[in-house]
């Protein structure tokens, strides 16, 4: 029942908020905030309590609420399960979610859509909970799509600006393209094993009977879904644009939780991917390429949120490298730590944006450290964590991934991973320096930061600092506690302790190299980059991928659409019909001109008819 509450509470409060907003004239922010923050607070308490139970070794929970659908062999229970994986996910989603809700109270203050925002936000929490708790792929897919819907609604929250809505559309469409693959994978999977039940455990039990080629296809298609949701090549284009939404949205959905759903899903299907390492390799390749690409782009961006967005995408790439190479524990570990520091970064950035009245260009900022230390120091911690500086949270998780990569048959992943780490350190420090350290461009007189905005940063800063210890590898005296707790079917190789130390040293050095480079270039301020080199321009223009998509997909689509109307409908179908009806009418007109009023002609028709017919008769005789 408590599991059901995890879903019912946020959905219920979302419904309540929505009804209040739509059908009453009640606009008390306090009421909306109370309901809106209360629900996630409650579920995080429940989740933590349940998660604690799991830590203590309780049986994983399964509850079937009702039969969702039962057609022939397709029997889908509306069932939830709370095992170790969902416990980890649920715990950090709900806790970080609650903090961001709290943050949003400050961020959204005074907005006319305050109530609507929390309705959407709670809706997202419900959908995310559904995704995480789902006991079978269909219910998971429902949650999966609903988080996408929530994301769409929230990106387009400021819908007065058409560009925001375009971004929202882009997000939903890219997600839907991924879902196209996802649902095909599910249906194929159902076709293969569905007869014997379709819950995850039932699938796992039968998975060995599935043909390998089909299994690979399913694996790839599932990953296509993850590409959309987790912004990997080639479906990543929506994520930077998604920053059009309010910053809490970016923090919660497009950094900490929803975008990691792809990783979660792959981990959820670990029993499947274990059987098809080739597909895993494909995932890892996509992951590392995405990481590299986005890290490169991030180094040239000037929009503060977009830098973080590309950074998110880059980190997601890491995670996919991990799960692709079979280090599921490491992947989820990074999901877990990343949630803390990335949420923190976004919230900090949100506070900055609010303070600067919605200025988002880092080159127009500067010197904010003095004004908002409560924002700066947490962000510094988060930056260090993200850059993988020991002993912050990111170090351990990233190190686990790099170790798995180096130990794999393809150490190139490790090398590229280090390159990405360097770029990460560089662009993060660049951001931090330009915003907080570099000389201010304007004179700020008073920059007020509401406690709603700054206080939630502190627990997250703490998390960014220490969350890594939970999953600390054996080399550092930890016991891979998280990985063991998750007990996923890891098959990644392990490094010796010695090489692991070497790797850690190397990665820290690289991070500091990145910091140093950034410091040299940006510590004393810089102007917006004017790209000179071809490569730089490419990076700045994000490799022209958006333009390419527009030219290859959108334009032909519109052409075809017009073509359907003008050629197929008007010329072909109606043209053919018109030919017949017009022909008939023309014949009719010609026939009627015989009706010229002259009686002698009439007699002629008469008699020619008679003679022709009598000739026919005579011939027949």
């Amino acid at each position: 029942m408590s599991l059901a509450l995890l879903i019912l509470l946020p959905f219920g409060s979302s419904l309540l908020l929505g009804m209040l907003y739509l059908f009453t004239s009640l606009r008390s922010e306090r009421l909306y905030a109370l309901i809106g923050v209360g629900a996630p607070l409650l579920i995080s308490l429940i989740a933590l309590w349940l998660g604690y139970g799991q830590l203590q070794g309780a049986e994983s929970l399964h509850v079937s609420l009702f039969t969702w659908l039962s057609i022939d062999a397709l029997r889908i229970e509306f069932a939830l399960s709370f095992d170790h994986l969902s416990a980890v996910m649920m715990a950090f989603v709900s806790v970080i979610g609650t903090l961001i809700h709290l943050f949003a109270v400050g961020y959204m203050r005074g907005d006319a859509g305050f109530g609507k925002f929390f309705a959407y936000f709670n809706f997202f929490m419900g959908a995310m909970a559904l995704l995480v708790l789902a006991d079978n792929p269909i219910i998971l897919f429902i949650g999966w799509e609903l988080v996408g819907l929530a994301s769409y609604l929230l990106i387009g929250f400021y819908h007065r600006e058409s560009a925001n809505v375009t971004a929202a559309n882009k997000a939903f469409i890219a997600n839907r393209v991924g879902d196209f693959g996802f649902i095909m994978a599910l249906v194929l999977l159902f076709g293969a094993v569905g007869e014997g039940g379709f819950s995850f455990s039932a699938i796992e039990a039968q998975i060995y009977s599935v043909d390998h080629a089909l299994l690979s296809l399913i694996g790839v298609l599932l990953f296509v879904g993850a590409m959309g949701k987790s912004a990997q090549i080639p479906l990543y284009v929506w994520l930077p644009d998604a920053m059009a939404g309010p910053t809490p949205v970016s923090a919660l959905i497009h950094a900490a939780t929803m975008v990691t759903a792809g990783v979660y899903m792959v981990a959820r299907f670990d029993f499947l991917y274990v059987l098809i390492p080739a597909v895993g390799l494909f995932i890892a390749v996509i992951g590392i390429l995405s990481a590299l690409l986005s890290a490169l782009i991030a180094t040239m961006q000037s929009d503060i949120k977009k830098i973080l967005a590309y950074s998110t995408m880059s980190q997601l790439g890491y995670m996919f490298v991990a799960v692709g190479l079979g280090a599921y524990g490491a992947g989820i570990f990074h999901v877990f730590t990343h949630a803390f520091f990335k949420a923190l970064l976004f919230m900090g950035v949100g506070a900055v944006i609010i303070a600067l009245h919605h200025e988002q260009n880092i080159f127009k900022m500067g010197g904010l450290r003095r004004f908002m230390p409560l924002v700066f120091y947490p962000m510094l911690i988060a930056t260090l964590a993200l850059s993988g500086v020991a002993p912050f949270a990111g170090f351990f998780s990233k190190d686990a991934i790099l170790a798995a990569a180096v130990a794999s048959e393809y150490p190139l992943f490790g090398v590229l991973g280090l390159v990405v780490a360097f770029l990460t350190a560089y662009y993060m420090m660049r951001l931090l320096l330009l915003v907080f350290v570099a000389p201010a461009k304007h004179r700020h007189t008073s920059l007020h930061v509401s406690p709603y905005l700054s206080l939630p940063l502190l627990p997250l800063a703490l998390g960014s600092a220490v969350a890594g210890f939970w999953g600390m590898g054996g080399a550092y005296g930890g016991g891979d506690a998280l990985t063991h707790f998750l007990s996923l079917s890891d098959y990644a190789h392990h490094l010796t302790h010695k090489s692991e130390y070497l790797l850690a040293l190397l990665s820290n050095l690289i991070a500091f190299a990145g910091f140093a480079l950034a410091y040299r270039r940006f510590a004393s301020g810089a102007r917006e980059p004017q790209p000179t080199a071809l490569f730089e321009r490419w990076i700045l223009e994000r490799f022209y991928v958006d333009a390419l998509y527009h030219a290859l997909l959108v334009v032909p689509l519109r052409r075809i659409s017009l073509w359907c109307e003008r050629i197929v409908d008007d010329r072909f179908v109606d043209g053919t019909l018109g030919l017949f009806s017009g022909g008939y009418r023309t014949l009719a007109t010609h026939f009627s001109t015989l009706q010229n009023g002259n009686v002698r002609h009439y007699a002629l028709y008469f008699l020619s008819g008679v003679s022709l017919l009598s000739l026919l008769l005579l011939w027949r005789l």
Binding site: L587, F591, Y605, F606, L613
Partner: protein
């Protein structure tokens, strides 16, 4: 003797009535001649009605006339239809007669003579008597068509009808002569006997003669390519006359056609079917061509009457191929066509009486709003003529097509259905015109008078004939009509 006299009493009544009206024609008597003629027709109708349902087949005054006149249940049914049709035609034009000055006693006398001719036609059991009856009817109608001699259109219509009609009459006589030459008799029974007695013969002369006779009859019903007069004459004739021609006269013509086909030429069916099929195709398509391209409602209805003749030719063709059931479908179709066309013409006449319109499609714009009730009824008649289900016209077509399929004529049935589809264009054009356009005119009051009540009756009959079911006890269903027809047909065997 007395019994036989009783049998022909209705016809005698009509003739006497006609003569009486002629005598009264030049009196300035304050006499409603229309009602008088209706009364006479009603009397005859009543007398005939009393015989409905009893099976009989009597050659009247065989000693004098030979076997040239027969009174049987077939002719009784047709008499009823003709009398009823004429009666309704006169009644429904009540307003129209009052609105035009030229309808004097002679007009009604001529109508009665025409009716007499038609009745005689349905009784004719001999080609000469058939011809004479036909001429009586035709000559009266010639005169009626040109009755309004002040109207150039009316005169011209008469001219065309007379010239072409006489030409057709000459062909009939030629055919008659040839048949006489071949068989030595013109009595239908004797001809049939002759065919039966000489099964090996080619019967060339007989077939050619019969063909000429049929051509004349097809001319009168307006089959393509003998149709050219139809549109012009229907257009030029005064409305009541058009109605008479389109409905009642056609009924009488089919009486004699059926009698000839079912009795006489049945044995020669093989020869008939091919020319008949050609005629059928030509008539259906040509008729739809004609109807499609008209902008005057009267001409459109005239064109479409050609199509309706085509439908009945489908059934006739089925008969020649041995499906004698199809004759019932012709009877039913005649009734259904009669009901809906009289209704439609009735509305035209009502309008002509009250508004002196040209009666083009343009004139009907917004009719649905100036005359909502009449427009609704007009729509019903159009639907019925188009053969839309839930109207009597649909059942008529249903029987015809089923009969054709039964006779193996699927192609003809398909063509018929196709032409019915084409007819959507011109019938629904009128409905569309009535309802889809606004009119500056305000809604006219719908009052009950003879004309409107009869139009309403026709509308109700159209619907009842289409959907009247056995669910409503005590009401006869369309089945009753078909039973009646079947009963009548049996007397021909």
């Amino acid at each position: 003797m007395i019994y036989e006299l009783f049998l022909i009493l209705p016809m005698m009544l009509i003739v006497l009535g006609a003569l009486m009206l002629m005598l009264l024609s030049h009196r300035e008597a304050p006499l409603n001649r229309n009602m008088l003629s209706v009364l006479i027709l009603a009397l005859a109708f009543g007398l005939t009605l009393s015989r409905l349902g009893e099976a009989h087949s009597v050659f009247v005054f065989e000693a004098i006339f030979g076997r040239s006149f027969i009174v049987d249940s077939f002719s009784t049914l047709f008499d009823l239809m003709i009398l009823g049709g004429a009666m309704l035609t006169l009644l429904i034009n009540h307003d129209y007669f009052k609105s035009r000055h030229y309808f004097d006693g002679d007009f009604f006398a001529l109508v009665l003579f025409a009716v007499f001719g038609m009745m005689a036609l349905s009784h004719a059991h001999e080609l000469i008597s058939a011809f004479i009856s036909l001429e009586i009817a035709s000559l009266s109608i010639y005169a009626l068509v040109g009755y309004n001699s002040d109207n150039p259109k009316s005169r011209e219509a008469m001219m065309k009808y007379v010239v072409l009609g006489s030409l057709a009459g000459a062909l009939f006589m030629l055919g008659l002569a040839l048949i006489y030459g071949a068989t030595g008799s013109t009595e239908l029974g004797a001809i049939a006997a002759h065919i039966a007695a000489h099964p090996q013969d080619a019967h060339t002369m007989l077939i050619i003669g019969g063909f000429f006779v049929m051509v004349t009859l097809f001319f009168k019903i307006g089959a393509v390519p003998f149709h050219a007069w139809v549109v012009d004459v229907y257009h030029g004739a005064p409305l009541p006359v058009t109605m008479l021609m389109a409905s009642t006269f056609k009924i009488a013509l089919f009486a004699v056609i059926l009698r000839i086909y079912l009795g006489d030429f049945a044995a020669l069916g093989d020869f008939w079917s091919l020319p008949l099929q050609i005629l059928c195709v030509l008539t259906l398509i040509g008729g739809s061509f004609l109807a499609l391209s008209q902008s005057n409602i009267k001409r459109m209805l005239a064109g479409s009457s050609v199509v309706h003749a085509g439908y009945m030719l489908i059934a006739l063709n089925a008969i020649t191929l041995g499906n004698f059931n199809a004759s019932e479908s012709i009877l039913f179709y005649l009734m259904s066509y009669f009901i809906s066309s009289v209704g439609a013409f009735g509305i035209l006449s009502f309008l002509a009486a009250h508004e002196h319109k040209q009666l083009t499609f343009e004139d009907f714009k917004g009719f649905g709003y100036s005359h909502p009730y009449l427009a609704a009824m007009m729509s019903i008649f159009m639907l019925s003529l188009a053969g839309f289900p839930s109207t009597i016209g649909f059942l008529g077509k249903f029987y015809i097509f089923t009969g054709a399929i039964e006779a193996g004529q699927i192609a003809l049935a398909a063509l018929g259905i196709f032409v019915a589809f084409v007819s959507i264009f011109y019938y629904f054009r009128l409905i569309a015109t009535m309802y889809f356009y606004d009119t500056p005119k305000t809604e006219q009051h719908f009052g009950f008078d003879t004309t409107t009540v009869l139009i309403l009756l026709m509308a109700i009959l159209s619907i009842w004939g289409g959907i009247g079911t056995a669910l409503l006890p005590y009401l006869p269903t369309p089945d009753a009509l078909i039973e009646l027809s079947r009963h009548a047909i049996t007397s021909l065997d």
